[in-house]
């Protein structure tokens, strides 16, 4: 006998008593009565409902009251509906807990949840702590209100204790239920049961080589998807029974190339024209040598997923939602240097530290990363001088600056043009001085740091140092050991990183969507992925709302020779 049937019998035994109590309550307080629609305009409903669902804030502005474990009062602003049921409302699977869907489309149908650890009475000596309802009949507005208030489903089954109980007023309950009915009710644009439409974005400052390096894995991905669909259709024709995974894994795929030309201020209009003409479900990759912000902002506005563009200038934000980045680009290198210095036992006083910034987007991004992190670490700001490339090339002027400040720590956010002068410039510094440079900014010239000063020069290096087995195109068919060496400096890793994005991250999310073709659900699924070991970075890690999957950056020094060993002076991640 299923749990559901057993529960129904139990519910019947208690039905009369429970009903009497509910009627008593409803007579006195309105609970259990018909939950009428709020009657609010849709935009207002979404605004208020979304605030309740995502932020745990009532229409009045107060925090939603909630209780778990019978008596544990929780603050819904810290622990909202979307914390567990996630933004799309399709639920989650994490830590052995299956959180069921909570959007109207699913709630108003009967439900049987996927298997979980809960189905095993005892797992490796551990008690099962989060038993959730296995099967339930469809809700209606009234039973849904009871579920949220009292934690009981339409069959009388009591929810797991981790589900809070919400003593909401009729009006607030009505708004929340209206919102749940709207949540993930229509598939997102660009996806149907038969097709995924994608685009990629390329700006006109990208070289033909880099363009090819991006499009190669993308076209291959699309071609493979379509080829697999053809094979799948033949299997079905021959009477093969597909598994659930297979049923939803094969769809036609297309890729549009959105070329952006001219000034970045004109990009939003160009993007809107592409999108209006043919909306896509997601942007796969993309590449620009400039600031990604106009594209980032467009995707936020359209609620359009943009998955792992190749950019050194991502938007660094704690609230951005719709773009997944590999990392924070140059900003992350500056951040790593700040964290490295913060841990130094014999760090000189701030007055003995100097930051010289080339007046360029790279220099500014590096300095921003350092400044912001340094401030977070509650360190006083450093003396910072921003110099034009011309001023940086003026040896006398630089000598004057360095002899004036005589810094024991010099952050030099400049390009490789400064390298030949480095020994002479460092002659102006105290004997124990250290100089920090960015390997991203120096590019392939990083290995050209003069050998005479390598003992005092430190480089930020945001890529993998340890060996990785796999071919250079990022595929995983051959077993070729890759040893990171100085030869990797300047490699933009466009093909390898894009392949990683497609094969190891995006594809998993897309396949797990099944028939829930909602963009928010794609993010929810991708956020629940386990950590990954990948070719270019030591580790990718995920989590709800996390948008920079590679969190590390080494501080290294160079060994001797023209092809120097890269000597780590820090861990991958520093705090």
């Amino acid at each position: 006998m299923s749990c559901y049937r057993l529960a129904r019998l139990k519910a019947l035994r208690l039905g009369s008593l429970l009903l009497a109590l509910l009627l008593l309550l409803s007579a006195g307080n309105g609970w259990g009565a018909t939950v009428l629609p709020s009657g609010l305009p849709q935009a207002e409903l979404i605004r208020l409902g979304e605030r309740m669902y995502r932020d745990g804030i009532l229409p009045s502005g107060a925090s939603m009251p909630a209780f778990i474990r019978g008596d544990v009062e929780v603050d819904s602003t810290a622990f909202s509906c979307s914390s567990c049921h996630l933004r799309a409302g399709l639920g989650s699977f994490e830590g052995g807990v299956v959180t069921p869907p909570t959007n109207g489309v699913k709630l108003y149908q009967s439900y049987r949840r996927p298997p979980s650890l809960d189905d095993i009475p005892d797992q490796a000596g551990r008690y099962i702590y989060a038993k959730t309802v296995v099967e339930r009949p469809a809700y209606n507005r009234e039973t849904l209100a009871s579920a949220m208030r009292f934690g009981v489903d339409p069959a009388g089954q009591i929810f797991n204790d981790v589900m809070p109980r919400y003593p909401l007023s009729d009006r607030d309950m009505s708004i929340l239920i209206d919102y749940l009915e709207l949540l993930s009710s229509e598939p997102s644009p660009g996806a149907t049961s038969k097709e995924f439409r994608f685009a990629t974005i390329i700006t006109d400052d990208v070289s033909p080589e880099d363009r090819r390096a991006l499009l190669l894995p993308l076209q291959k991905f699309i071609d493979q998807k379509n080829q697999q669909l053809g094979m799948y259709q033949k299997f079905i024709k021959f009477g093969y029974s597909p598994t659930t995974e297979m049923k939803y894994a094969f769809r036609q795929a297309s890729l549009d190339i959105w070329e952006l030309k001219g000034a970045p201020e004109t990009w939003p209009a160009q993007l809107a024209a592409y999108y209006d003409k043919k909306p896509v479900f997601a942007v796969l990759g993309g590449i620009s040598n400039g600031d990604w912000r106009p594209i980032h902002d467009f995707c936020e506005g359209q609620r359009l997923p943009c998955l792992f563009p190749i950019t050194d200038f991502p938007v660094v934000s704690e609230t951005g939602w719709y773009t997944y980045y590999f990392n924070k680009g140059y900003f992350q290198e500056g951040e790593a240097v700040a964290r490295y210095l913060n841990r130094e036992e014999s760090l000189p006083a701030e007055g003995e530290m100097l930051q010289i910034v080339e007046d360029s987007p790279q220099g500014k991004a590096l300095a921003d990363g350092f400044r912001q992190t340094w401030a977070e670490l509650e360190r006083p700001a450093l003396t910072t001088l921003t110099l034009s490339p011309r001023e940086l090339a003026d040896r006398k002027a630089l000598d004057k600056i360095l002899s004036k400040y005589r810094p024991r720590v010099l952050l030099l956010w400049a390009d490789a043009a400064v390298l030949p002068e480095l020994p002479a410039l460092m002659g102006q510094l105290p004997a124990d001085a250290k100089v920090f440079l960015s390997s991203g900014y120096l590019g392939e010239k990083s290995a050209a740091v003069p050998e005479s000063v390598r003992g005092k020069v430190y480089l930020s290096y945001p890529y993998r140092l340890t060996p990785f087995v796999g071919p250079k195109d990022g595929g995983y068919d051959a077993k070729v050991p890759i040893l990171t060496t100085a030869k990797d400096f300047g490699d933009r890793r466009i093909t390898s990183r894009s392949t990683t994005m497609l094969r190891q991250v995006a594809l998993r999310g897309l396949n797990l969507l099944y028939d829930n073709l909602y963009r928010e659900h794609l993010f929810d699924l991708m956020g629940m992925q386990m950590d990954l070991t990948v070719r270019d970075y030591e580790r990718f890690s995920f989590g709800p709302g996390q948008r920079y999957v590679s969190k590390g950056c080494y501080i290294i020094q160079l060994g001797p020779g023209a092809d120097p060993a890269l000597l780590p002076r820090s861990e991958w991640v520093m705090h």
Binding site: C3, A7, K10, L14, L18, L21, L25, P65, F67, R69, G70, D71, V72, E73, V74, D75, A78, F79, S83, C84, L86, S92, G95, G96, V97, T99, R126, Y127, I128, Y129, A130, K131, R149, F150, G151, V152, Q157, I158, D161, V162, R165, P167, L168, S169, N342, E376, L377, M528, Q529, M530, D531, R539, S541, G543, P544, Q546, K551, E571, V573, H575
Partner: protein, 200 residues
């Protein structure tokens, strides 16, 4: 504090339903598993929410009860419940909350910087006495292993509270989720010298 009518009513009904369906098929029969253990804490240095280095072995070697759990900042399921339990215990203890040291240790050290830890504690309105620690993955793995709580990936974690008895340095290991009342009772078993129920 007087509870609003609706809150009281909801609690009343929840209590009624809980009492009426004690062994329902969809209800976990065991609320949590309790055992008493001894652990050797590794001598590693972690970093607290203020960015300060802390030696975990020294931190737990306290004359007051110590409570440890493993959570992470962006967790969607178990951690918010564990953290609500921590903050509710602080509230229930009132001024006595200063007599218990609460330590949450992140299982997502790549993401959870001191700033994120600090914001998390602020979001939960944690009182002084509840620290949230991060550090290198290797050090945190060592701590998890020492507490027999190692997981290779944060997505496969499970709820554990560890309560150190200051009288003999043993640890009450609780697997599962406790109510506020249960949590308080477990704390009192190690906090009250006259109570001799610490070891079942």
């Amino acid at each position: 504090m007087r509870l609003p009518f609706q809150v009281s009513l909801a609690l009343l009904l929840t209590a009624f339903i809980s009492a009426a369906l004690p062994a329902g098929p969809a209800r976990a029969e065991v609320r949590y598993k309790r055992s008493v253990e001894r652990y050797q804490i590794p001598d590693v240095v972690l970093i607290n929410q203020d960015g300060k280095k802390v030696r975990i072995a020294s931190l737990v070697n306290s004359g007051d009860p110590v409570i440890v759990d493993f959570i992470y900042g962006t967790c969607t399921t178990i951690c918010p419940v564990l953290s609500a339990g921590m903050v509710n215990l602080q509230r229930r203890l009132g001024p006595l909350s200063q007599k218990v040291r609460m330590i949450s240790i992140t299982i997502d050290p790549e993401h959870d910087s001191p700033k994120i830890l600090k914001d998390y504690l602020k979001r939960y309105r944690a009182q002084p006495g509840w620290d949230f620690l991060t550090g290198s993955r290797a050090d945190i793995d060592a701590v998890m292993k020492a507490f027999n709580a190692y997981i290779p990936d944060k997505m496969s974690h499970y709820p554990i509270n560890l309560i150190r008895d200051p009288r003999d340095g043993s640890w009450v290991r609780i697997f599962g989720l406790m109510s506020s009342k249960e949590f308080l009772a477990e704390y009192q078993r190690v906090a009250t010298p006259s109570v001799s129920g610490g070891k079942p």
